[in-house]
Subunit: 335 residues, 2 copies
DNA sequence: CGGGGGTATGTAACCGGTTTCAGGCAGCGT
DNA sequence: ACGCTGCCTGAAACCGGTTACATACCCCCG
């Protein structure tokens, strides 16, 4: 690898000039700039990132902190790949690199250290509902930070999430329009933003339309398949079982479909089901899961944009406002 | 952030000694070591990665190069998340960081530059079948490199893949044991390792058992759902349609199931289907897809181990041999 | 023709570590 | 007492960039 001094000697200028060609080309004369650029291309010079980071204290790198310990938490992300693609694409367009940090693998607190050690310019946080204090502390650490599906705010910290409240209302509204009046829900964990917001929206729409909601129509789930199946079993055992169920996640909706089938019921003839997420499976499982679709790539893109805005903004800029992505209902066979 | 000089002054030793405490603790006396360690903990000293990388030319970081441009290639990885988890976990255990590089987003060649600019210690390559020359060139660049599902070898380059050949043979063997003699296959793209190997295995097992394979029983697919559906439609239109189909990927198997259903056939009563991959959907779609399961986490773990071994080995060590992960048949409802 | 202002470039300090090399010191044998 | 050895420590060069500051030069104007 050629160094800046070699390149400088090679074309008879000082290292400062070479540096300027790459960083503030407008201050160097046309002639020398072209001379340096040509020589750089010829000998294949590439500025060393570590040296640059050391000198400027900016790494042009953002960290993705993600709880990896799915053995313990059982957590899997429904759209991780899409988010990664969108995030990386948007960051690359601004010359930013992406470093993967994992709370599970790196140990508690370790990612905070990593952020300092690497001079990271910002962080995006994928929520796992762990409420890890070290993760939450990031919001106050002053480093630009955007959380996904986790309502974290601070002077240089914001979050992006879907319109879970509105999506849930739309689902309920749709079921009401189809004539249902006995509508139950299978919730996500209350400690997660989406879990809480979808339940709120569900309640809000029923209340707004004057439809009663018996307490036993709210069944607790954890976003995973088995919890949906169990919850549905319980719902079907009620004296007056619901005619429609809004599951706060597609996996649970699939579990609910299985429970209904096992109980000898047909979907949607005997019971309607609406999910949330629009995972791949939703389109493939017969008769097709009606669900609320999220803007999967939007998470990554919005996170990148928010981060870049915060990085470029002055230290004391007003805190950014949260980004709420729109949802949309996808009609398929289950409702 | 405290620097090494501050820490040195703080406890009355030289910077060299502090550095040794962190890198070669065995050469510094017990007394000073403890003194330095205590002071480091007290003032929260953390060595700066960039400075370290600059001085040693080793970054303790490995790059994950991954073709992100799925808009063009339509490529999605079935187990990306599991691979990421296993890879990151294994790397973290050895103190290595993970940097995401994307051929689609970073532009052609850009990841090669990134590798040099960042002094990456190694690279893992997730194949997308693109045959990108810059990617393939990595094998010769001398940097430790392990490819996933792509038979790439070199002095410091190896790969990990499933036993695609054996898995395919097992699938065929199972169908033969169930009494089938008219067995067709839906292949993956021949340019991909798994696509080619699964077809080879399919052919080999039939040949070994003396079962004839008409040319029209080999239908071309591309691993995605639609191709499976189309291929199956064609197969069912033959004069003597197969009684069983081995699809080289689960998505195609699901497509094949759809085509069979659309043609008024029942699976497995009229036609049996075996897939490959054991994606999540396989267990959930009725009546459950019989398929060949891969060691998903094994990809990440094996890649990390191979990489670490290469990094620690002397430059002229013999090239590592490829890692072939075992597969296993999962019996469900379709065969 | 001399001075002022603006522009392009160079010099050298600095970022925070690692590492070579030299030297101090204690212990030991003679 | 002397020299030798081995262990521990420190001084300083170095990694490859950035940037504050100084300087050289040119042009224009009074």
């Amino acid at each position: 690898m050629a160094t800046i001094r070699e390149l400088a000697r090679h074309c008879g200028v000082s290292v400062a000039t070479v540096s300027r060609v790459f960083n503030t080309p407008e201050v160097v004369s046309q002639a020398t700039r072209q001379k340096v650029e040509a020589a750089a291309a010829e000998i294949g010079y590439l500025p060393n990132e570590s040296a640059r980071t050391l000198a400027t204290k900016k790494s042009n790198t953002i960290g993705l902190v993600w709880d990896i310990d799915h053995r313990r938490s059982g957590w899997r992300h429904p759209f991780l790949q899409e988010i990664l693609v969108a995030l990386k694409t948007a960051l690359s367009a601004h010359g930013l690199h992406l470093l993967l940090l994992a709370t599970g693998a790196d140990g508690p607190d370790r990612h905070l250290r990593s952020i300092q050690r690497h001079n990271l310019d910002g962080v995006v946080l994928i929520d796992n509902g762990s409420r890890d204090p070290a993760v939450l502390g990031l919001a106050e650490a002053g480093i630009p930070c955007v959380a996904l599906d986790l309502p974290l705010t601070g002077p240089r910290c914001t979050y992006v999430t879907s319109d879970n409240h509105g999506g849930a209302r739309e689902a309920v509204s749709y079921l009401l329009a189809r004539g249902h009046r006995r509508i139950a829900t299978i919730t996500g964990p209350a400690r997660t933003g989406p879990g809480a917001d979808r339940l709120d929206g569900f309640r809000a729409e029923l209340a707004a339309r004057g439809v009663p909601l018996p307490a036993e129509y709210v069944a607790q789930g954890d976003f995973y398949l088995d919890s949906g199946r169990n919850a549905m079993r319980d719902l079907l055992l009620l004296d007056t079982p619901p005619t429609a169920v809004f599951a706060a996640g597609d996996e649970m909706a699939v579990g609910a479909m299985q429970a209904a089938t096992e109980a000898g019921l047909r979907v949607p003839a005997h019971v309607s089901i609406v999910g949330f997420d629009d995972i791949e499976l939703a389109a493939l499982i017969p008769p097709g899961l009606t669900t609320i679709s999220q803007d999967r790539a939007g998470f990554g893109t919005a996170a990148a944009e928010a981060l870049i805005a915060m990085i470029q903004a002055p230290e004391d800029a007003p805190p950014p406002s949260p980004i709420i992505l729109p949802t949309s209902l996808v009609r398929r066979g289950t409702a």
